[in-house]
């Protein structure tokens, strides 16, 4: 820049600085009012996080095979349980109730009692209970229960599937070893869409 021209004198821009700023402020204020006038922010279309998660739970049940001895009969239901505060609201009913998977109906159980945990096939462990229930996957170790959570440490604590939000989509990570100990067979397609897979089948 030419040292002899004071830096606040600008050659080029077609607006004087001072007037420009006032104009900008006025413009910004108008603009802001227009936006506020429009009311709510991001338009609410498409699917909520909970809806998508509920759909995933259904798909987990579809793409995981439990040992046959975990069912009393040929048509015994697949039991999906929720421990802790249920974050899904009605979405879980919508996604699961009335469905059948491989000829088995899906049974939804909320507020599963401690003694009943091992009787679930798929257990969603709510983050609300992360402290109290942190030893839970460990307690269920070996029982044919697919544990699903959504906290950072869930896999470290022995959980099998953990929800994560990635690029604005609901994804999940899988921990293979505890699944194997539980005698669960995870479909390759499920592993393929996982964000990350920890461990491997041996």
């Amino acid at each position: 820049m030419d040292p002899f021209i004071p830096s606040h004198v600008r050659v080029g821009p077609c607006w004087s600085r001072r007037r420009g700023l006032a104009g900008w402020v006025a413009l910004a204020v108008c603009f802001f009012l227009v936006l506020i006038g429009r009311g709510t922010g991001a338009p609410n279309t498409g699917f909520s996080e909970q809806e998508i998660k509920a759909a995933w739970l259904f798909n987990f049940a579809r793409f995981v095979e439990w040992p046959t001895n975990s069912f009393a009969t040929q048509t015994a239901p697949i039991v999906v349980g929720v421990v802790g505060k249920d974050p899904f609201g009605k979405e879980l009913e919508k996604a699961l109730v009335g469905r059948t998977i491989r000829g088995r109906p899906v049974l939804l159980k909320r507020a599963v009692a401690e003694g009943d945990l091992a009787n679930c096939h798929l257990l969603f462990i709510s983050p609300s209970e992360r402290r109290r229930l942190r030893d839970l996957p460990e307690k269920l170790r070996g029982a044919p229960v697919l544990t699903v959570g959504e906290t950072d440490e869930f896999l470290d604590q022995g959980g099998i599937i953990n929800f994560v939000i990635k690029e604005n989509a609901v994804r999940f990570e899988i921990n293979v070893r505890p699944a194997q100990r539980a005698g669960l067979k995870l479909d390759a397609n499920l592993l393929k869409v996982a964000v990350s897979v920890r461990g491997r089948y041996e």
Binding site: L27, N44, V193, V197
Partner: protein, 709 residues
């Protein structure tokens, strides 16, 4: 069945030694920038016009609300790619860190519109970031700010970037493609137990994304009044199964700042940089990362140096500084089993800085670090490590500043161990550890720390810590001769500051405590307070006066020696508040308080021993608002107050940055950012040790376009 294992490691997990939890970041293709000041004048109208248009045509990306598709009919792949529209912004989880930690995420960087790493640090409380001129910053944590601030450890992807020359950071050469940064972790207070010497008042840890997370192309372009022009190009892809790469290149040119009278300060700055990163999950449990950058650039700077010639005994030097350098990092991570993993990292770094007529520094750094993490039983988690660093330099001397010897190699050996003990699982955690270092100047240094974290319940947690840290001598403390000024006379008297090899480490004993509370899922507070007790702080002691016939005109030379004859206490605190007011409007506020009481110790005759007290603001606050508006618009504002800094004659100031971003398509973003909008110009810092020209920061507006392909 064969499952290829992808290591479940967050990018930079290795060097993130503080356990930090951040809220989920709703990732969107980031971007902005438009060309030149043309847009600055037209953008507002254009945007409004564009919006009116967009308002009618927009829902291109959004499926109509009424006949929703049934999610159960989707394939797994489809389900995995369904965007979440109403992300229930996760309540920010209370961090388990027993330290004052702030994380600046990629989203924060993008939405603030900052263009440099130094400026990004303004988003963290407890730091004092002052722009000295167009390309120079003074950055410190919890006091002692200076252009040559020396109590901060700064790492980029595990590479230490502070220079052993004066233990400070040349912020002008610390850069990368900002869009590739995953997060910047800012730890206030000592982190020496893990990070070693210089992590006295804080640690700044800049972590870039894995190449796996940056696929595809990215083009950025823009410019404005202060940011004259910038552009960047990045491309990422897959080399083989489980092997990913990216390459980038960027360039920017910045306008000069202003002199106090409004004239140009002639300190324009331009840089070009290019780099790459590859991440390869070789086998189950083994991953390799290679990355590197090279850069070059130049900047102008004006100095007022002392001179031995009458009548002024001073010369004005309008100098050009040539900057170049590069680095290459290799990192191997091996997982033995769950809870047991090792990382080996080696790097080479070269910097060359030639401030013509003042100082030229060439430096090669070779570093190797090993770190092992091991869970032990249910309750204990060990981290141990060892490192070696060799730094080889060559200085080209001038009259104002010279080093003796001119070439020097220094070595640093270190090892550390830390045990995190869960006394009550997820409730009460104790961590104990220490770092041991051997440096060439003071020998062995021992830096232990103890930290305790307690969660009263899910919404309240407290922590406290005691730690010792040292700031080991820099090359300057040992070897410098700085001809500081000349008192006119016949003969004149030259004030020369000499480094001394009996200079000791500066020492800190720090007491900290913090409280985090989340009274409501939408609201959280994070408070940290500290009391720092320093000893052996640097002083400049007048030693004696003697005629020096080796210099022209046989001036009298007043020798001043660098010694450790000051002590002091600092105390203060930082408060951060988050408020998710609505789904689309988020607030964040920070307040920083600092008091410094420094004292010359008996035996000291340094009249300036307490100057540092007045080089950092007592109060700072920020208020930040982030809005997600209709029509794919985002509006972000940052209001910032900084109290007066008397020693460098900087009055208090209030500044406002505003960014408006518009993302009409998923892969296209326009933005306009206004910086320092509240005044034409204001000073943020002044010259201290090196007599540079005093300059002021000007208002700036720039536009940016970002396109992904």
């Amino acid at each position: 069945m064969i499952v290829h294992l992808k290591l479940n490691s967050a990018p930079g997990a290795r060097y993130s030694r503080v356990h930090v939890e951040t809220a989920l970041e709703p990732k969107q293709s980031s971007g902005r920038r438009v060309v030149g000041c043309f847009l600055a004048s037209v953008a507002g109208l254009a945007l409004l016009g564009g919006l009116a248009f967009a308002a009618e045509t927009v829902p291109e990306a959004d499926p109509p609300t009424s006949p929703k598709r049934d999610l159960s009919e989707l394939s797994l792949e489809e389900l995995a790619n369904i965007p979440v529209t109403s992300v229930s912004k996760k309540p920010e989880k209370l961090s388990h860190a027993a330290a004052a930690v702030t994380v600046i995420t990629q989203e924060d960087l993008r939405r603030s519109g900052v263009t440099t790493i130094a400026e990004a640090l303004r988003l963290a409380p407890g730091l004092d970031v002052a722009r000295v001129d167009s390309h120079t910053w003074a950055v410190s944590s919890r006091g002692f700010n200076d252009t040559f601030a020396n109590k901060l450890q700064v790492l980029m992807d595990g590479r230490s970037v502070y220079t052993p020359l004066f233990s400070g950071v040349y912020w002008d050469v610390q850069d990368t493609l900002l869009e590739d940064i995953d997060r910047i972790e800012v730890v206030r207070g000592p982190g020496a137990t893990l990070w070693g010497a210089n992590a006295v008042n804080g640690v700044i840890n800049i972590i870039t994304r894995s190449a796996k997370e940056t696929p595809g192309g990215l083009i950025i372009g823009g410019g404005g009044t202060e940011e004259l022009g910038f552009g960047a190009l990045r491309y990422g892809g897959q080399l083989a199964e489980n092997a990913y790469y990216r390459v980038y290149t960027k360039y920017f040119s910045r306008d000069s700042s202003a002199l106090p009278n409004g004239d140009s300060a002639n300190d324009r700055w331009q840089m070009a940089r290019t780099g790459f990163r590859t991440d390869w999950d070789v086998t189950a449990g083994n991953s390799l990362t290679f990355q590197g950058d090279i850069y070059g650039g130049d900047e102008d700077q004006t100095y007022f140096f002392p001179s031995l010639t009458a009548p002024g005994f001073s010369t004005t030097l309008a100098s050009e500084v040539e900057l170049s350098g590069g680095n290459l990092i290799g990192r191997w991570r091996h997982e033995f089993a769950a809870g047991s993993d090792s990382t080996l990292q080696v790097y080479y770094d070269r910097t060359h800085r030639n401030a013509k007529g003042f100082i030229e520094e060439e430096r090669d750094t070779y570093d190797a670090d090993w770190e092992h993490h091991q869970s032990w039983g249910d309750r204990q988690d060990w981290v141990i490590g060892a490192g070696y660093r060799l730094s080889v330099d060559e200085i080209h001397n001038s009259f104002p500043v010279s080093f003796d010897p001119r070439r020097r190699s220094t070595q640093l050996f270190s090892c550390f161990a830390q045990d995190n003990i869960a006394l009550v699982s997820d409730r009460l955690q104790l961590s104990l550890g220490s770092k041991f270092e051997h440096n060439d100047y003071t020998g062995v240094e021992f830096q232990p720390g103890a930290r305790l974290w307690w969660a009263a319940d899910e919404h309240n947690s407290l922590w406290a810590s005691v730690a010792r840290a040292v700031r080991t001598p820099s090359r300057a403390d040992d070897d410098i001769r700085l001809n500081d000024r000349v008192a006119p006379g016949a003969p004149p008297t030259l004030f020369s500051v000499f480094g001394r090899n009996d200079f000791q480490s500066e020492e800190l004993l720090a007491y900290e405590a913090g409280y985090r509370v989340q009274p409501d899922p939408r609201v959280s507070f994070d408070l940290a307070v500290f009391y720092n007790d320093y000893d052996r702080l640097r002083t400049v002691e007048p030693q004696g006066i003697a005629a020096d016939p080796s210099l022209p005109g046989t001036p009298n030379v007043l020798s001043l020696y660098l010694q450790n004859r000051a002590e002091g206490e600092t105390y203060g605190g930082e408060l951060t508040a988050h408020w998710q007011m609505t789904e689309w409007w988020r607030w964040r506020g920070t307040y920083t308080y600092l008091q410094m009481q420094l004292h010359a110790k008996p035996g000291s005759t340094d009249p300036n021993a307490e100057d540092d007290e007045h080089r950092s603001p007592h109060h700072q606050f920020t208020i930040q608002s982030s809005m997600d508006l209709p029509w794919h618009l985002q509006l972000d504002t940052l209001l910032r107050y900084v109290d007066e800094v008397t020693d460098v004659s900087v009055p208090s100031y209030l500044s406002l940055d505003v960014r408006l971003g518009w993302q009409p398509l998923k892969n296209l973003e326009f933005s306009v950012t206004g910086q320092n909008l509240l005044d034409d110009r204001h000073p943020e810092f002044g010259p201290t040790v090196v007599p540079i020209q005093r300059t002021e920061v000007q208002r700036g507006i720039y536009g940016k376009i970002l396109f992904r392909f």
